[in-house]
Every structure is written in structure tokens, then in C-alpha cells.
């Protein structure tokens, strides 16, 4: 299995079935523009389907992709700069790039021996061209396993979509393949506008959140611009009862806060912090807080630094960490996010920041529901992996949903750290107390 090679069959462009309305342009929101330096990669693993012949499934998926693209003109458009220097999407119907590949073995065998590098080979990605008008922002790779199974690699620029939107797009594609119609159509509209009038003169905008963004934008430290650290990713699966135990230990009502606290403490330990915790930011989806429909297509992830009390004398480190996370989560409410949006509208920056370039990032991707993505009746994905690239700084933790067979409370955590630290993490006592299954890494 060590010499598995992926054979690339072809690369092409897939376009929508109906021409896009000519001349339509979509400006990007303030949240979109912040994410210029990042891109998302998702890998879906599907078990073998009834259709044994190679190429048949790929052809069917390609055709249904064409149909679904008709409803997503932003996905087939291209980036252009407006007159005010901000990005917008010109809906010129250029299409998404698709790569078709084949590899030996079956999907189950692959999953037994997979690691970060191998998984990333299942997703194609090209960095932004010098002339972005000719650069595809969405890429799809279909890899058929000769002995059964299919891997769908989906990548896109973070400028246009966050993991929620990306998952929604793939779900729409699956619905179209399965039934011919989408169950949840997308919404393309701008973020809620700033409130006009009715301003409380004593209103104090939440400065912590804004400060965090300000410092990230102003951070031009060269250490993060040519990163040569070798990052490795591990996928840890925590079963339902274990997550519940963690929630009880930390007395937090939410699995994310418990998991985030746990990982924070453990990562701090492997980084060599004897006292206190390393700098961490959480990243949450703010669609509900902003009153946006789940089908809102675009970026709606907000980062917030977690502040913790230094003294941990009488409380366990774990519950304090989880409590601090919970506090940060509660602080991210509608009013404060609206203030942030308003601040961002009025503050231009010359160079786009790297939102995940400094702190340890812990993102809550629990509600994405990727296992509902069925391309064929009854064929649930075996696994879905998420990557937010490139990873810089301390590292990244993504808290994801587990396959439905594991139960509603179970969680999968994808941790990206430098290689040596990650191996230490997997041997850490505190982590092992919750008995995670190491699926990758």
C-alpha cells in the first residue's frame, strides 16, 4: 500500500446547463474579503456503489454537477476588482475545474493507511493566478477506487465560501444527482446592513472582538510569511459517552466547549506551557445570530480570542479552559457582530490578513451535517474530512460531526500541529482519558 499512486485521467471545466445572466456581478462582503489568503478542502469518502463499471459514476456526477451549477452563478464566476479596489465576482459562466482520477485498492483500505499528505492528493487546488480573472475558484476531483468506492475532493477559495457554504453546495449537488431537485436552495445576498438611526448614544461597541480583528489585520510579522514547519493532521474520534463524560467533567452544556477546552489544555501542554494556556481563538458560524438562513452562501465565520483567568488554583485547568471558551461563545451575539461588520466596512486595509496565522484556531464545524450528502440512495459517506489551508502559527483544531452511526453526541476532531507535537498529543494522558480512536495520523 505504500506505493499507491493516483492516476490522473483528465482535467476539464464543467459549466452550468443554462447560460448565466450576462453582466451580473456580486460584490464580496467584509467577511469574505478577510479570507483571501485561505482556501478550504473537503474530502468525502463513499463506499462502493452498485455500478461497477469505471467511469459511469464519474459521468453521472459530472452531468448532475452541470445541472446544479445553474443555480450557483457565483461558483462559476470569476474574481475581478471593483472600482473601489474591493473584490467582486463577475458571473461570466466560466465554470469549475474538474479532475478525474483513479487509484488502486478499495476505499476502506485507503482509509486504514491515510495521512494528511495522501488525503490532500485527493483534492486538487491551484493558488491564485497573477491574473485572477482566469483563475477558477472552485475545484472538484473525483477519484474512483478500482476495487470499490469513490472519493470526492472539493476545494474552493475562502473568499467565496466558508465550510458551511461549501458543504451546502456539495449537498445541493448530491440532491440533484439523487432526486433531480435541490432540497435547500442557496441564498445569495449581502450581510445584514448596519442599523440606521436608533443608535443609543451610550452604545459602546464591543471592543474586544474588534481589537482582535484589528490586531490580526495589522499583524505583518514575517515569521508567518514563509513557513517551513512540517504540519501533520490527526483525526481523533471521540465516542458519544466519552464526549458526555467530558461535558460532565467541565460542566459545560455544549460538546464544542468541552472538546475545545480539552484540546486547548492538551495542546498547551505539548507546546511546553507549564503554567497557563497558549493563545487560542475560536471560530464560529454566525448565521443564526445574524438572522440569516442556513442557505446563506458566503462567509459567515467570525474569529474571537478566548480570554482565560490566569489563576487556576481551585478549579481544574480543564473546566476553566472550557468555561473561558463558553464565555467567548456567549459574547459573540448579534449586536457585537453587527458592530464588527460596521467597523470592518469603515476600515480598509492594504494587505489581506491571515486570520489563522497566529493563534491556535479552534473552529466549530459541528452543524455542517455533511453525512446527509447522499449521491445515491442509502450510500452514506464513510468519512468526511475538512481542511482550512494554509495552516500557520500554532496550529488548528476543527471540531466536526461524526458519522451518524456513532451517535449524536460523538465528535471527530481534526488537529493540525507540527509533526513532533502531534505525536506527543496523541500520547497525552488527559486525551487518552477520553479514549479517542485515532482514525488518521
Amino acid at each position: 500500500m505504500t506505493s499507491e499512486m493516483i492516476t490522473y485521467i483528465c482535467k476539464r471545466t464543467v459549466v452550468s446547463t443554462k447560460p448565466a445572466q450576462a453582466g451580473k456581478c456580486n460584490p464580496l462582503s467584509v467577511f469574505d474579503r478577510l479570507m483571501e489568503k485561505n482556501h478550504i478542502r473537503i474530502v468525502y469518502y463513499f463506499p462502493s456503489t452498485r455500478n461497477g463499471e469505471p467511469g459511469v459514476v464519474t459521468k453521472k456526477l459530472r452531468e448532475s454537477l452541470s445541472h446544479v451549477l445553474t443555480c450557483f452563478p457565483i461558483v462559476t464566476g470569476r474574481l475581478q476588482k471593483k472600482d473601489d479596489g474591493h473584490w467582486m465576482i463577475k458571473c461570466n459562466d466560466a465554470g469549475v475545474r474538474m479532475v478525474e482520477a483513479r487509484t488502486q485498492g478499495s476505499v476502506e483500505e485507503w482509509l486504514k493507511n491515510v495521512n494528511r499528505d495522501k488525503e490532500l492528493m485527493l483534492v486538487t487546488w491551484e493558488d491564485m493566478f497573477h491574473k485572477p480573472y482566469f483563475w477558477a475558484t472552485f475545484y472538484v476531483q473525483l477519484t474512483e477506487f478500482e476495487e470499490g468506492g469513490l472519493a470526492i475532493g472539493f476545494s474552493c477559495s475562502h473568499l467565496l465560501a466558508d465550510p458551511t457554504s461549501a458543504t451546502m453546495f456539495v449537498k445541493a449537488w448530491a440532491d440533484t444527482t439523487l432526486a433531480g431537485t435541490m432540497l435547500a436552495p442557496p441564498f445569495f445576498h449581502p450581510l445584514p446592513p448596519p442599523r440606521l438611526g436608533n443608535k443609543n448614544p451610550n452604545h459602546n461597541p464591543y471592543t474586544d472582538l474588534i481589537n482582535h480583528y484589528k490586531s490580526t489585520i495589522d499583524d505583518r510579522s514575517p515569521a508567518f510569511t514563509n513557513n517551513i514547519t512540517n504540519y501533520v493532521t490527526a483525526t481523533l474520534a471521540f465516542s458519544g459517552p466519552m464526549v458526555q463524560a467530558c461535558m460532565l467533567d467541565t460542566s459545560r452544556p455544549s460538546p464544542f466547549e468541552a472538546m475545545a477546552g480539552l484540546l486547548w489544555v492538551c495542546v498547551s501542554k505539548v507546546k511546553g506551557m507549564k503554567q497557563g494556556l497558549i493563545s487560542m481563538s475560536i471560530c464560529l458560524d454566525m448565521r443564526k445570530q445574524l438572522g440569516l438562513d442556513k442557505g446563506f452562501f458566503g462567509n459567515c465565520l467570525v474569529y474571537n480570542k478566548v480570554h482565560h483567568a490566569e489563576s487556576l488554583l481551585d478549579k481544574s485547568e480543564l473546566s476553566e479552559a472550557a468555561r473561558a471558551v463558553g464565555e467567548s461563545v456567549t459574547k459573540m451575539n448579534n449586536e457585537r457582530i453587527m458592530d464588527l461588520i460596521e467597523w470592518l466596512e469603515h476600515h480598509d486595509y492594504e494587505f489581506p490578513p491571515l486570520m489563522n496565522g497566529h493563534d491556535l484556531i479552534c473552529a466549530n464545524l459541528e452543524d455542517l451535517d455533511p453525512y446527509a450528502t447522499l449521491f445515491e440512495e442509502g450510500f452514506v459517506p464513510i468519512r468526511v474530512s475538512y481542511y482550512v489551508e494554509p495552516v500557520f502559527g500554532i496550529g488548528q483544531i476543527l471540531v466536526l460531526q461524526s458519522p451518524p452511526s456513532e451517535g449524536p453526541l460523538s465528535r471527530m476532531v481534526m488537529v493540525t500541529l507540527p509533526a513532533d507535537e502531534l505525536s506527543k498529543l496523541c500520547d497525552d494522558d488527559l486525551i487518552l482519558r477520553f479514549n479517542p480512536t485515532i482514525l488518521m495520523g
Partner: protein, 496 residues
């Protein structure tokens, strides 16, 4: 360009004069015959019945004389009916509709062009300018092999495209006409640039299990006018073989001819040629007479190959890097104009009403004898035809012909809209245009249609059809899902 006779022909008075003149000349026979018959009738009435009876009795009829005269009459009638050419009917035809997933929007085409020709930005710019002014729309289709980055024009892919296009068109035709494959007596396939062994006609015979004594022909290398050449061939064969069905398949296989070099003159076909094909059923069987759509009236073929410039104006050759492409010369339009003039001079006398021919003759005599400076008279072909199908070779071709023949926008609408929706599908474009006219509900019984096609060589071929019955709109044709959107306004330059 030469104008019609006097400059003030827009004046209303002259219009009525012109109408009166046309009516007079076109119906001269009736106008002469009617007074003569009236005169005879008056004379007969004047004579009275008795006188007529006496006149009749005075004629002596011998038995031999009667027999000889009747034999003569029967003999002449038989010779006349036997030597009359068989009528060739177009029972029905089917055009290939490419799958929506093969669509190539402008942006995708330009992006691919950039990725493939990354070392030649000038060539990319050139292609972009051509595409902007081409008159094509965003729904034209290229075969799957050309969608790859880089394109993979293998022989297998070319065969795949041929099978896809030809078999789809044939299936559609068989279904529309209810024809059984065993009843096909003559098969003609024309595809200019792809000519494998065994031929495409053999491929059709193999797929549909046609009869072993079928007369099959495969025409290759004859350019965009090969469709009408095939129709001409079918017509000639149907004169020799009574009671027969002929199937003509016209297509152009794009896959092997995608030019991958940088020479500008050779990049033009890449921008214009698109996937398409048509299958046509012609018959000389009497029982098809009532259900046939059209009757073939004339086919006129003009070949300018004797002229060197005309011969070389569309030339397939290797560029400096050894890549094969079709080079289009700069005087293509001028040569096309010459070929058209030649074709018109031949077809004019066959189709034009007497009034136009007389005017043309008078102006010709006048120019030769009196004053060579007189402007030559361009006959008004709108009087001879109700519909025009001009091969959608490119916007320039249609513009040129519209100007030369002084056609209105509605008359060239079928050609322009076919170019917009399907691109230049080479020999089958005429059939897409016919389909457009039918689907717009404009084809009535007795309408005459003029199909004109140009091709490498340089050839100008035209066919004249007469509509046999008013054609109702259907749903199984390539325009069914978009006919309501047409006609569209096509801007001079589409900004990319």
C-alpha cells in the same frame, strides 16, 4: 454595390408602376390567352350551332388518319412522361441536438485558450477578438475531447463523436419517419475532415444492420457545401433507381481538427466550428408524395476551383511547427462573392419570374450596347423565394450575402439565429436553419426555399425546395426548448 434601376425607387408611385409591370409580364400568357378565347367564343356564338355542325361534317376523317394521329398523340405523351425526371421528395429530416453538458460559454473558451496557448498572448487576444465579433451565443457545443485541458483529439475520441452525432441523428430520423433500416436503398454520408477506414457510411451500415445490396457513398474533403452535393448525388441516383429511399447524413466531426498551434489564420476555425449533424430522408416513392415535407426543385453547383486564388483560399496545411490546421485567406469574402454571382447567374433563369428576367436582360443589353456605365441590375430574389437558408459560415458571410442579395433582416434571421445557437456546424447548418423556419410556423404549403452553401475549393452550391404541405410545429427538434427566446438581438461586439 449596384443599386436597382432608378434612384427614386422608394417613391410610392413607382412602386405601383413596378407592381403593375411585374403582374403584366408574369401573367402575359393568361393576359394574351384570355382575349383570344373570348374572341373565339364570340365568333362561335355568332356562327350559330348549325354552321358549326356543317363545318364539322365537311372534315373528312379516314380511319387510318385517325389511328395514326391517336398513336402519335399517345406516343408523344408516353415519351413526355417517361423522360420527365422523377420527383424527389424530402420526407423528413432530423437535426442532432448536442447535450447541454457539452456547452462552451465564451469565458470557458477563452480560459482554455489562455491555458493552452500560455506562451502566445497575441494569439489569445486574436481569438478573443474573433469570438467577440463572431455572432455565436453562449450555448454552442464542442465535443467532450475538446473540453479537456489540454484537448485530447485522439482517433478514438473522434470515432466517439461521430457515433454520438450520427447515431443520434439517425435514430431521430427513423423515429420521425417510421422508416425501417431494411428499407434504406441509398446511403450517403458526408463529413469533410474526418475520414476513417472503414468509412462513416460503413459505420452506419454496421450499426443499423442495413441491407447488403445498399448503395452507400462516403464523401469527404468537400467542405461546408458537401451537404448539398450529397443531396445532388441522391437526386441523380433516385432518377436511376425507381421506388427507392435515400438517406443523407451531413455532419462535421470537430475532434480531430482542433488546431493546437499559434498561426492566426488557422485559429479562426477553432472559434467558429461547433458540433452538429443532420440526417435527411429523400424518396421517389409515390406513396411518400402526400406525407413529404418538401419537393426538390433544382440543385445548382458552381465550382471556382479553376482559379488559383479560389483554390487556395481555404487550405489545410501544416504551420511552421508542423501542426495541421485549416488556413483561411484574407480574400475569402471577395471569392465568396464571385462564386455567388456565378451561381446566381445559373440559378436566376431557372427560378426568377419572367418580369425580373426581362429587366435583367434589358439592362444587360443596355450595358453591352448603349452605355457600359449603367449599373447592373440585381434581380430581386425575394420574388422567387419565400425563405432563405444561407449557410451559417460566419457573421461576415451572412452580412455579405444579405448585402449582395438585398435581403431583409427577417429573411436572414434563420441563418443568424442558427449561428448564434449552434455555431458553424458546417454542412448541417442549412438543416438547422430550415428547422428554425418550420418551428417559427412560417413554412406554408407552396413556399419555396433557397439553400445556399459555400465550401472549400471554392464552391457555391444551392438547392431549391418547394414546400409540399404546411408544416406544424413539433417538440422533437433541436429548437424546441429555446425557440421562444428567438430571435435575439446579437450585438456587434460582445464584451468578454
Amino acid at each position: 454595390m449596384p443599386q436597382t434601376l432608378p434612384d427614386f425607387s422608394n417613391s410610392v408611385k413607382l412602386k405601383y408602376v413596378k407592381l403593375g409591370y411585374q403582374y403584366l409580364v408574369n401573367h402575359i400568357l393568361y393576359l394574351l390567352l384570355v382575349p383570344i378565347m373570348v374572341a373565339i367564343l364570340i365568333e362561335v356564338l355568332r356562327l350559330g350551332p348549325d354552321e358549326i355542325l356543317n363545318l364539322w361534317k365537311s372534315l373528312h376523317f379516314d380511319l387510318v388518319q385517325i389511328l395514326c394521329s391517336s398513336f402519335l398523340i399517345i406516343f408523344i405523351a408516353t415519351v413526355y412522361f417517361m423522360s420527365k425526371p422523377r420527383h424527389v421528395y424530402l420526407v423528413d429530416y432530423a437535426c442532432y441536438k448536442p447535450p447541454v453538458t457539452c456547452r462552451v460559454p465564451f469565458a470557458t473558451f477563452m480560459e482554455h485558450s489562455r491555458l493552452i496557448l500560455k506562451n502566445n498572448p497575441k494569439s489569445v487576444e486574436f481569438q478573443m477578438r474573433i469570438l467577440e465579433r463572431s455572432g455565436l451565443g453562449e450555448e454552442t457545443c464542442l465535443p467532450p475531447a475538446i473540453h479537456y485541458i489540454p484537448p485530447t483529439p485522439t482517433m478514438e475520441a473522434a470515432r466517439g463523436e461521430a457515433e454520438l452525432v450520427i447515431f443520434s441523428a439517425m435514430d431521430s430520423l427513423l423515429q420521425k419517419t417510421g422508416l425501417k433500416p431494411k428499407d434504406i436503398d441509398i446511403l450517403i454520408v458526408n463529413c469533410s475532415l474526418f475520414s476513417p477506414t472503414p468509412s462513416l457510411s460503413a459505420m452506419v451500415i454496421n450499426k443499423y444492420k442495413l441491407r447488403s445490396n445498399i448503395k452507400s457513398f462516403n464523401l469527404s474533403g468537400m467542405g461546408c457545401s458537401a451537404g448539398l452535393i450529397s443531396i445532388d448525388l441522391a437526386r441523380d441516383l433516385l432518377q436511376v433507381h425507381p421506388n427507392s429511399n435515400a438517406v443523407v447524413v451531413s455532419t462535421e466531426i470537430i475532434t480531430p481538427n482542433y488546431y493546437q498551434g499559434n498561426e492566426r489564420a488557422m485559429l479562426l476555425p477553432n472559434c467558429l466550428f461547433r458540433m452538429g449533424g443532420a440526417a435527411i430522408l429523400l424518396s421517389n416513392r409515390r406513396r411518400n408524395r402526400s406525407r413529404a415535407k418538401y419537393r426538390l426543385v433544382h440543385v445548382v453547383r458552381t465550382h471556382k476551383g479553376a482559379d488559383d486564388k479560389a483554390y487556395r483560399c481555404v487550405f489545410e496545411e501544416e504551420d511552421k511547427e508542423g501542426k495541421v490546421g485549416i488556413s483561411l485567406s484574407k480574400d475569402l469574402m471577395a471569392i465568396a462573392g464571385e462564386a455567388l454571382k456565378s451561381n446566381i447567374t445559373t440559378i436566376g433563369p431557372l427560378v426568377l419570374p419572367a418580369s425580373e428576367q426581362l429587366l435583367f436582360l434589358m439592362t444587360l443589353i443596355g450595358r453591352k450596347i448603349f452605355n457600359p456605365k449603367w449599373k447592373p441590375y440585381i434581380p430581386d430574389f425575394k420574388q422567387a423565394f419565400e425563405h432563405f437558408c444561407i449557410h451559417a459560415g460566419g457573421r461576415a458571410v451572412i452580412d455579405e450575402l444579405q448585402k449582395n442579395l438585398q435581403l431583409s433582416a427577417e429573411q436572414v434571421e434563420a441563418s443568424r439565429m442558427t449561428l448564434h445557437r449552434f455555431g458553424n456546424t458546417s454542412s448541417s447548418s442549412l438543416w438547422y436553419e430550415m428547422s428554425y423556419i418550420e418551428e417559427k410556423g412560417r413554412m406554408k404549403k407552396g413556399d419555396r426555399v433557397w439553400q445556399i452553401a459555400f465550401g472549400s475549393g471554392f464552391k457555391c452550391n444551392s438547392a431549391v425546395w418547394k414546400c409540399n404541405k404546411t408544416i406544424k410545429t413539433t417538440t422533437d427538434n433541436p429548437w424546441s426548448d429555446c425557440i421562444d427566446r428567438y430571435p435575439v438581438h446579437i450585438p456587434e461586439i460582445v464584451k468578454l
